[in-house]
Subunit: 141 residues, 2 copies
Amino acid sequence: MTEDHLLDPRLESDTLALGETALCSVRLARDGRWPWIILVPKRADVTELHELPAADLSLLITEIALVSETLKRSTGCLKVNVAAIGNLVRQLHVHVVARDEDDAAWPGPIWGVGTPELRSNTSLPEFASEVQQALSLAPPG
Amino acid sequence: MTEDHLLDPRLESDTLALGETALCSVRLARDGRWPWIILVPKRADVTELHELPAADLSLLITEIALVSETLKRSTGCLKVNVAAIGNLVRQLHVHVVARDEDDAAWPGPIWGVGTPELRSNTSLPEFASEVQQALSLAPPG
């Protein structure tokens, strides 16, 4: 994250930075059970979507749609799930997750299900590289 | 719904119409365990957010934020959850749900949890009336 914005410690530990847009820190979930990207608007003390100004909301939905489209194309998934929940981690963050009928939670939601299976840190999955390209991400600082 | 757009039968049976914006059919979930609004873009054959054109996405996030803000103000809830999942009902629809620590699924997501407790049809809850006002809804046709 940029120095003027702090990432919640649990988001920090559960995700890897893919880069930053003007609005968001774009993160890959360390839990490898699903292709799973998390967008974190770099705005202090925001917990709800409606607390973002209109210009930020417009940027955010554009970035959500780009990530969704990229996940679908890259993984060939059946469905993309998009959610801003934040019951446990209150800092506003948006999940974009590729879902398939043979995945670990189908057809239910993924949050709170089972035990995370952590990705190795040695190589970025292809869908994550494609998200970096689609969003023209600045590298993590 | 307008005659040029068909609502998925399960959305039809699980929700009550509150009215329509230019983009969406705005629905109240019949399951009364949570204050729960569902926005259904009146666009044929759309299952993913990224299939909507930019103008529709911009309208949609504006409406989501308005519903979120209204639910929070009206119910005094701790957190609003927003999600487009659609693993079972494929027609694109966005949930906006008021959450509290004493609710039936906290802190987990609400989808697929327990057994619905249907609202009586006799009176609209206050938050639903306030959503109608906030979105200046045209009455259900």
